[in-house]
Subunit: 351 residues, 4 copies
């Protein structure tokens, strides 16, 4: 079956293509009686929107939030909450010249193979535009998590080989790349600007830290907390990998190094990333994702088209040379969705 629903108890179902009329989300399983308003969601939308700085695409997506159901007199009613975002920047003609070509790195070829038909306008459903609906849905989850004392913070850890050497949460939203180290941030911005000039792009690493989660979340054996987070993150277009805690470095460690010892104050280390046996330990949950370089570049590339003919292609247009800064709110949104769902699943088991 099709895969446009995420979550089991707290769940979102999304729709919308890059250049359609709208994108939107139905959120089902919302706790009733919770105060929510459009401004709260809008704040998250604004973090994802393009055109925030010199390093992101100047395309204008207004992404004005409209709640059309599930809220009555400022409070959730427990019935489906529907949020719609009108598309205001539909310029499908910008894509007509490449409509038959398979852009390297894009899902043009695979979508056509899967469905036998393809909405070529701005990648259609495969566009990053789709994540706007995730952020809207994630904002509802974030609101519910706030009541539980849970905080989800993602940030850029590395871009184009430049790695943050320090961690200062306060600077994340203060720099254009959402890095946790202001000095590295400056270097990253220069790197991106340089790539933009030559029409190329680069990847990076985004880290996410989640605090305030109770011990005991996660549903073994298949729906473990890390398994669900991994699915959530890999479902984001540009993500190519994920690791928890020590992650791939765990492969080179000894058991006596990796095991997190405990004393009466709790765990002494957090190599596990806050999840053991697929269940939260109550420590900070930490994971990192690998973000591939933006596929849309104006450097000439070799490809074919739907007739099987070879051709050269340059993807002109307005694109982020590095997607990390804008993927940060999407990572947070997906993490929020997983967590709220797991809280409710735990409540279901015990209830």
């Amino acid at each position: 079956m099709a895969g446009n629903t995420f979550g089991e108890v707290f769940k979102i179902t999304t729709f919308g293509e890059s250049h359609g009329v709208s994108v939107g989300v139905i959120v089902d399983g919302v706790t009733p009686g919770v105060e929510i308003n459009e401004a709260y969601i809008q704040k998250q939308m604004d973090r994802r929107k393009p055109g925030q700085s010199s390093v992101t695409t100047p395309r204008k997506e207004y992404d004005v939030v409209h709640i059309q159901s599930g809220v009555f007199e400022g409070k959730t009613t427990g019935t489906p909450l529907f949020v719609v975002l009108q598309n205001h920047d539909m310029r499908p003609e910008a894509y007509s010249e490449i409509q038959d070509a398979f852009r390297p790195g894009h899902a043009d070829f695979t979508y056509l193979e899967k469905y036998g038909i393809r909405d070529h306008r701005g990648s259609g459903r495969a566009s990053g535009r789709e994540t706007a609906a995730r952020v809207a849905g994630g904002a509802i989850a974030r609101k519910l998590l706030e009541r539980r004392g849970v905080q989800v913070v993602a940030y850029t850890k590395e871009i184009g080989g430049i790695r943050c050497e320090s961690f200062d949460e306060g600077v994340i939203e203060q720099n254009a790349v959402r890095a946790c180290d202001p000095i590295a941030a400056d270097k990253m911005i220069k790197k991106i600007e340089g790539l933009a000039e030559i029409g190329d792009s680069c990847g990076g690493i985004v880290e996410c830290r989640i605090r305030g989660v109770v011990p005991g979340l996660g549903e073994p054996v298949f729906d473990k907390l890390d398994a669900e987070l991994a699915k959530a993150m890999l479902s984001i277009g540009a993500v190519k990998g994920i690791e928890f805690g020590a992650g791939f470095e765990a492969a080179t460690m000894l058991g006596s190094e990796h095991n997190d010892a405990m004393n009466s104050d709790g765990f002494l280390t957090n190599h596990s990333g806050g999840i053991i046996g697929g269940i939260s330990t109550g420590q900070e949950i930490v994971f990192r994702i690998s973000v591939k370089p933006t596929s849309s570049i104006s450097v000439p590339q070799q490809t074919t088209n739907i007739k099987g003919e070879e051709q050269e292609i340059r993807t002109e247009g307005r694109h982020d040379p590095c997607i990390c800064p804008r993927i940060v709110p999407v990572v947070e949104a997906m993490a929020c969705l997983v967590l709220e769902d797991q809280y409710k699943r735990q409540a279901a088991m015990l209830g």
Copy 2:
């Protein structure tokens, strides 16, 4: 809700604890009319079982396969196929002395936090024993995939910092660590034997290659093929990370390097790992997982018990110093489950 079912259309539901009477699996959604027998499943079980060599635990789990429903006169009937494996090596008394302590790296603490009750015998449901049911279910999926021409091969890529330098598929099942490079395999075995002597353990990296998959599998936007594989792999106890294709290296590449160009013969590279936009490209699917060092070690470690008292612990008993060799068939089983499910989901959409 609880998470002991995996898959949407082709799905397995498992039960069983380490030291209970049995572990088993109900496989639902099986194509009817397919020849299947216990020997076929047994072959996969034997690859997972302990005691295969000097580098694995000498515990004897016979894991004799019994099909109790869903097969009639040697063929699947389309009704639920039930496979049960009796436990023959139940020695719960071996665990009584540590029943109140939280073994570092183990899920003792988190299970107790989640459920408020814990079967302490050999990790109970959190034991690797549980994966026997996955391998049994995965064998059914593998059988169905064979008819589609799909081959799934996993192997050890790295153990204790020793990395395979060559790839020879023919040697994988010929060495005790299931490495793809016989020279590295020898070094790995020596490394593991050395760690066994001092009661420590090590981690590693397992790689999986899947061939023969048609382009077009995967269910955007949330149930992408890589998202489902990521969930499947992270649901395996010791796995701490996953990466597809270029993976974490993609973070340091330029778009012009990472994008897989095409000519009339197809893709020129496979940095994507055979999946773009969450849909198979028809190329080889390639991913790697990070396996943490075995948690059970006899090196003394600091921990606490259920009364909050600090204590030192040494996990005696029979344990694999490195789980990579035995995780290989589990990785394959989970990959088979994801793929057969995705094939059937694609059939559902088009049907």
Copy 3:
């Protein structure tokens, strides 16, 4: 978890309250490449809308269909199809005087008990208005079923004790009550008009016949075709019962009477209603539902309010004295949703 999604493979998720901004539906799992347009859906919407005749409420719900995603150049793309219907007749003030009272027969009391909060405007989510989204989603299913040669026809069998004595499919859409017998239809209309004058209401029986279904649909043991149809029908607000084939009369028959014998031309009778063992036989599928009298009546009734005070209530306003004529397209829509889903589930199993 909340229950606003229906179907497993072909599935709809709906939102919207009676007096909110809009109601709508996301249809996921749509076969790609199928021609669909708004006019096709509109036709079904118009059958459900109020104000069609003297026997239905004069409220105006324009129910103008807007497809906002999932269709490209007139064809489905396989991505989520979103249909929205703006509400144009929002007059919440009409309900303010009864906002604290529990209207007998309505879900006022139970919604408040469940959610602890209630959108009192025109029953909120519990309003029949919600079925507009079902009819829109069902129209997509109907389109796909047409390609399979399946026809779904529902009609009024009985209203206020007046029963159709003949069956003429051609007259169903020609009379205001959608009865299959024009003479009975006239009597029913008079009955309803009489009740409208005194502010009372009546119930009835709607029958549904489905032709052209292949043998073999239905998913034992729990998701049998009749089980899914029963759930679908009982999920419609006013439905209090369902029976298949001989139905409740089967309780008084002998096995030798009820069993449907076969000869080389097929079944000789259809007491089963076209479903045996939860699987379609290939015969006509026949079921009937019991529809309760409309709850909103202006006859004075005894009730209480949210403060526990007793009061008399008269539900003024514009309401159908009998809901049968307008429930007919909803029954058809739900039946279409079940069938298309079952066809796809069968394709999944065999695929």
Copy 4:
């Protein structure tokens, strides 16, 4: 996808054919820490087993309950609870002579059409034997519901046209037909014995009353409490209809008659059957099901076989002339499964 799992949060997955090695059930989502033992489940199994009296088949199915996982030291652990029942009365040869014929009223024809293959031994998966696993799973649900103060009681209301005129809950388990009126019970038994002599069978009506349910259960708009109960009941082999409260009689009532008025003590009537808008009112939940006459009769019947040849058939063997008495515990089991699931779904929403 296949349909051998029931429930969303509290869910069962079953397997097993009439003449296979075993039937069984995995129960997932069980509240941890609850005392449960095999004797408790056995008690329900014994109510369902054949051979309880002169009016049921003398076949011996020992149905000895074995719990193989999910319980530790007498308490549930929150991990999957597996219950298996060995089949001890496998006599497939008894069916060899009719293996190619389609027995009227049985699912022989439809199973073959669906799966293309059929386990002909005693109806295979389509056998009533399958309900043993439901009763085992339902017993776990019943145990959890006891803690909530919920009581589920089903009984025979009518058999072969003989209707109970009184209701005495105390007599239900005291008579062979599980009727609520001892005088009617005697007549029913005579009726059944008479039919047994001539090799025919009859149907009946079973009623179910559920007490102690809190107001607020049910998940609109699709997973309403009555919708889920309807699905559950129609998923039982011989059931051909269901009605809640006034049921089909509601079709002939006026709104002023059917609406349940309220005063400060609560509802004055219960025409709704304890469910309004798909949500429990807190009143007694009441529904009735129509049970068709047993399909297996020794009266000669006309049918065809898999080669399309016409033939006469007499289903010899040991069969219940009326299935009502033995369907009673199955109805209760399914009702318990629905209710416990709904309680947990409500906890999830609020949690």
